[in-house]
């Protein structure tokens, strides 16, 4: 076989594989949206679910998912970026550093159900935080931290060393150099890592079953004091998220329209993740341009 033919075949195979993957994704997305979009209405998005009657919504679940996302990101992002900076800029090569790196690698491929059980035993029971949004957020932090650490480390390592040298040679401290020269350049990578983490949080169910719980108390959406027990902002209340709700409705839903609700909720979940993605990217581009004055 001539080199030219081999090249043609290789190109063909690669294009075919890519096409197959794209087709599968588009098919899946289309199927979910096709089945679910019809069920989405303002009423569906805002009203509480019904147990046995028709016409329940997903209002509290959607709110819980978004709130949990914010809560988890508030804990995960600073910790992840901090540890990532340490691993990339401060840790000296050696046994301890490689041990930390190994642990991070292992943790990042941990099955989420195990994280959930760990959360149940340690966070919910031992620390007595109960089934609550905070427990859920902490479990998801365990689950997402390794990703954040790794991505931040990679992002910083991808910054040309000449940038760092140029700053240090001006008599600028290491910390200021990291903050004002290296991090802005690494920002797009750190941000895409955060988006990835956010997607995992939003779609996660297994780790939340045993930590954030499977029920949602009646929420009073006119009470925004986080200390009140039926306030939506109270982080100590149990909170069923959208992904958990889909699982529950699908497996043990009694309402006659359970299938439609699950389909509608799935579509909402996907659309929200998509919107979040686009929003974060736009924000990232804006921040990157602002810091680096590039167009």
């Amino acid at each position: 076989m001539s080199a030219k033919t081999a090249d043609k075949i290789a190109t063909g195979v690669i294009v075919f594989i890519t096409g197959l993957i794209a087709l599968a994704l588009i098919g899946l997305l289309g199927y979910i949206l096709f089945r679910g979009l019809g069920h989405i209405s303002w009423h569906f998005l805002t009203s509480p679910p019904e147990t046995i009657r028709k016409g329940g919504g997903i209002g509290p679940q959607l709110f819980n998912s978004l709130f949990l996302l914010v809560l988890t990101m508030v804990i995960t992002v600073p910790l992840g970026i901090g540890a990532g900076i340490y691993m990339s800029e401060y840790a000296k090569a050696g046994k301890i550093t490689s041990a930390i790196r190994l642990v991070v690698e292992v943790l990042s491929s941990f099955p989420s159900i195990i994280v959930g059980l760990f959360g149940l035993l340690v966070i919910v029971n031992k620390f007595n935080l109960g089934f609550s949004l905070l427990s859920g957020a902490l479990a998801l932090t365990i689950f997402n931290l390794p990703l954040m650490v790794r991505i931040t480390e990679q992002g910083l390592r991808s910054v040309p060393v000449q940038q760092k040298e140029a700053s240090l040679a001006l008599g600028i401290s290491k910390w200021k150099t990291i903050r004002s020269v290296q991090l802005p350049i690494a920002l797009p990578i750190v941000l895409s890592g955060s988006i990835l983490a956010a997607g995992r949080i939003f779609g996660e169910a297994a780790a939340l079953l045993f930590t954030a719980g499977m029920s949602s108390p009646r929420l009073d959406f006119s009470d925004w004091n986080p200390l009140h027990s039926d306030s939506p902002l109270n982080p100590m209340r149990p909170a069923e998220t959208l992904a958990v709700h889909i699982w529950k409705v699908n497996s043990e839903g009694l309402a006659p329209d359970a299938t439609q609700i699950a389909a509608g909720a799935s579509a909402v979940l996907i659309i929200t993740v998509l919107l979040f993605n686009l929003g974060a990217r736009a924000l990232g581009r804006y921040m990157h341009n602002k810091f680096t004055a590039s167009k």
Binding site: K92, A93, P160, V161, Q162, Q163, K164, E165, A166, S167, L168, A169, L170, G171, I172, S173, K176, S180, V181, P184, I185, F291, T292, A293, S294, K295
Partner: protein, 252 residues
């Protein structure tokens, strides 16, 4: 010859097992240009990077001996390296402007060193860009990205950035070798201007450049300084055979 701006005494540099610089002792005079020449891998860049402790960044690198500035050894663990580097600026082979605007590239250093007043900063930016002979080309686009400038302009911007923190000494590591001939001659003119205010140590591969811009020249070979003298003497009447062989192009 004027005052001594900076001197190295019995400086040795090791990369792990490799002994890259052997017992180098050199004095650099104030407001003069000193050129370091020699074949690739002779240790001249390594030596240069030791002078502002840039080699601290390389974990396997060890530097012994003394580097004296105002009679104080700055090669100790108790030296404030950050303050030292403010006094000894550096320009590299490849221009490395920050991924920021032209203005921010210059203002970054002075602002960190305590100048917050907008007017004062504006002045420093203008002065520095003028000193580096790039003001006319950039004054209308100060807030545009520095990365949009040409290579030669970027290099002059990097020199302006170094000048902006008012160092005593500027180290240049082959500052023109990645540039075209026109940009190179601009950089050389600039060096001749800058030596009125700064002491400059320049590593160069280009012997004509060394001859054109420097007062003194040190010839490095295999980590040793073979000869150090007035540039004129080195290029017309060197003492050592090896120096003569190198400058006449017999090796290197």
């Amino acid at each position: 010859m004027g005052e001594i701006a900076l001197s190295a005494k019995k400086l040795n540099v090791y990369y792990g097992e490799k002994h890259a610089v052997h017992d180098v002792s050199l004095d650099f005079a104030e407001k003069e240009v000193t050129a370091l020449i020699g074949p690739s891998g002779c240790g001249k860049s390594t030596f240069l990077r030791s002078l502002n402790r840039m080699n601290d960044l390389i974990p396997s690198c060890k530097v012994t001996g003394e580097i004296l500035i105002d009679d104080r050894n700055i090669n100790g663990t108790d030296t404030d390296v950050v303050a030292l580097r403010k006094k000894i600026g550096m320009v590299w082979q490849r221009p490395n402007p920050f991924h920021k605007s032209i203005y921010e590239n210059i203002a970054f250093g002075p602002r960190y060193h305590g100048i917050k007043n907008k007017k004062q900063l504006d002045e420093i930016v203008e002065q520095s860009l003028r000193k580096a002979a790039i003001w006319e080309e950039t004054k209308d686009r100060l807030h545009k990205s520095a990365l949009a400038l040409s290579g030669g302009q970027q290099q002059r911007l990097c020199i302006a950035r170094t000048v902006a923190v008012k160092p005593d000494v500027i180290l240049m590591d082959e500052p023109a070798s990645a540039l075209d001939p026109i940009s190179t001659s601009k950089i050389e003119e600039l060096i001749s201007e800058l030596k009125q205010d700064y002491s400059i140590v320049i590593v160069t591969h280009n012997m004509h450049q060394a001859a054109r811009v420097s007062e003194k020249t040190a010839f490095f070979l295999n980590g040793h300084v073979v000869e150090y003298d007035k540039t004129e003497t080195i290029f017309t009447n060197p003492t050592h055979q090896r120096t003569n062989d190198y400058i006449t192009g017999r090796f290197g």
